[in-house]
Amino acid sequence: MPKLNICKYSSGGIMELKVKRVERVDGVKEAIFLPAIFNGLRLTVKHFWRNLFGARDVVTINYPEEKRHVSPRWRGRHRLTRLENGFLSCVACYMCETVCPSKCIHIEAGEHPDLSVEKYPVVFDIDELRCVFCGLCVEACPKDAIRMDTGVVSMAYTSRQTFDFTRDLLRDSYDPKLHSNPKYEDEDLPKPVKQSEALPNSQGIPAT
């Protein structure tokens, strides 16, 4: 075995580099190559045989079929949460739009005829193509109305328009068990006046 010794080089006192130095060995054993080649072969053949019968060492994730485990804290695609009564939690306070460093959130506030319903977003668009997934919008939100815990980590679509996620695509799906006391159904949320302009992709993509 070549002797290893660890040398320390200091470069101007700013940073220390650790360099592993491998001593060159001369001699017959090195010159005829064969021992080294057989050492190498032993390793590669070991892996080859292990993987030939059972693929035990393979670390590849077959992506579209298998997915890597994503931590729940991973910042993925946004979602808009709901109150217990089924209405959107967002109060259209513009905090997230203001803090967003890439200016990719577009909100238009609206007033509900029912006065017990607070101000709410008529338009809530996020251009996910410009988003840098910094998570500041989540932190800025006073109502816990926007979250990034959908676990959708790869958004791959074929047109730029598709990345403009609108309110209706961002909001959580309505869950009768969680939202036990719905005040208004989804259909009751007023649509923007000019639907075609506000929701460029309302023809839609799966909201998951």
Binding site: A31, V45, H47, V59
Partner: protein
């Protein structure tokens, strides 16, 4: 029926049939399979999965369809000729390599003769000298491709290939001298039959690897260098000169280069089996007296195929184990170490034969 048989048994037609069978049913399919197997096996060595995506509907065959996909792709790819290239030489260069790779199989017997019928296209008298002649033809493919494609990388690759192949050819011949001396012939059938003798009663077959262990290593090294595969792949040198001499090729002509590489891989394996591992002779089979001829032939073909496949695997394993030699190291190894060693091998073999005789 008799009439048909008579036509088939005429020597010319028989030779054509043998060529068809040995090349189309043995060399080419194995070579084509190896293009996939190299990728699959290298994936196993490196703990990956390897190609497995080509599919017809749900069927992928665990990557088997990649062969068809690659073939289709290269057929329909544009066959480009770079500006300023020497068109004619550029177009014919790929086929030198392919022809040379395939021609090796002309003298390799894949099973023992049945009566007058041999499982060998031709048993020429010069035998292995034919191999040396053919492998030198191999140089032309690389050199013509390198010089005619009007690209500096290709030219560098071609130059390296010619230098490497010509120098390794020198002691490739010398490394085999030992075999010629031990078995006393250059005919392939003679050498194969010579390996059917046994030492110590019936204990050890007189295979080339036992009679010529050093010659085996030298010849194998030389052949690996001749096929320009790692660790001697400086002519292709994808880390420095992109792809070397066939850099400018595309489509089917590029595939011809690749196919030539893999067919010569099979050729090397078959040659090593024939010269150093008893050829088609199944060891200790003669102990089974009056074995039916057809069983013997089938066993022989199986044994030959098995050893060939094992050697193909070994070359691939070697490629994914050993790092590439720098080009001066390649030449240094050839001229300074392997050439003197093969001379020593000849002298020692001669002395041993003299003392034993």
């Amino acid at each position: 029926m008799d009439f048909l048989l008579e036509i088939i048994m005429t020597p010319a037609i028989l030779a054509c049939l043998k060529i068809a069978v040995i090349i189309l049913l043995f060399a080419m399919p194995l070579g084509t399979l190896l293009t996939l197997m190299e990728r699959k096996w290298s994936a196993m060595i490196q703990d990956r999965v390897g190609p497995n995506r080509a599919n017809i509907g749900k069927f992928t065959g665990n990557g088997l369809l990649h062969i068809a996909a690659d073939g289709l792709k290269s057929i329909f790819k544009e066959d480009t000729i770079p500006k300023g290239a020497n068109g004619f030489l550029y177009l014919i260069a790929p086929f030198f390599g392919l022809i040379a790779a395939v021609a090796i199989f002309a003298i390799i017997p894949i099973a023992g003769p049945i009566g007058n019928f041999t499982f060998q296209v031709t048993d020429v008298n010069p035998g292995l000298l034919f191999i040396f002649a053919i492998t030198s033809l191999n140089v032309y493919g690389a050199v013509l491709a390198g010089t005619s494609s009007n690209s500096k990388f290709a030219l560098l690759g071609g130059t390296r290939a010619s230098a490497q192949m010509i120098s390794y050819e020198v002691f490739m011949g010398l490394a085999l001298m030992g075999i010629f001396m031990v078995y006393g012939t250059t005919r392939v059938s003679g050498i194969v039959n010579g390996q059917n003798e046994y030492w110590f009663g019936n204990l050890v077959p007189m295979w080339g690897i036992f009679t010529q262990p050093l010659g085996f290593i030298l010849f194998f090294t030389a052949l690996v260098a001749e096929t320009k595969r790692a660790p001697f792949d400086a002519p292709e040198g994808e880390s420095e000169i992109v792809a070397g001499y066939f850099l400018e090729y595309s489509g089917m002509r590029w595939s011809a280069f690749m196919l030539a590489e893999y067919v010569s891989l099979v050729g090397v394996a078959a040659l090593m089996t024939t010269l150093f591992f008893g050829g088609y002779h199944v060891p200790w089979l003669h102990l089974w007296e009056n074995a039916p001829q057809w069983i013997v032939t089938i066993l022989q073909i199986l044994k030959f195929t098995f050893f060939t496949v094992v050697f193909c695997w070994f070359q691939i394993q070697l490629r994914w184990t050993v790092p590439k030699f720098r080009f001066d190291q390649t030449m240094g190894l050839g001229w300074k170490k392997l050439l003197p060693l093969s001379l020593v091998n000849i002298i020692v073999t001669a002395l041993v034969i003299l003392t034993l005789a």
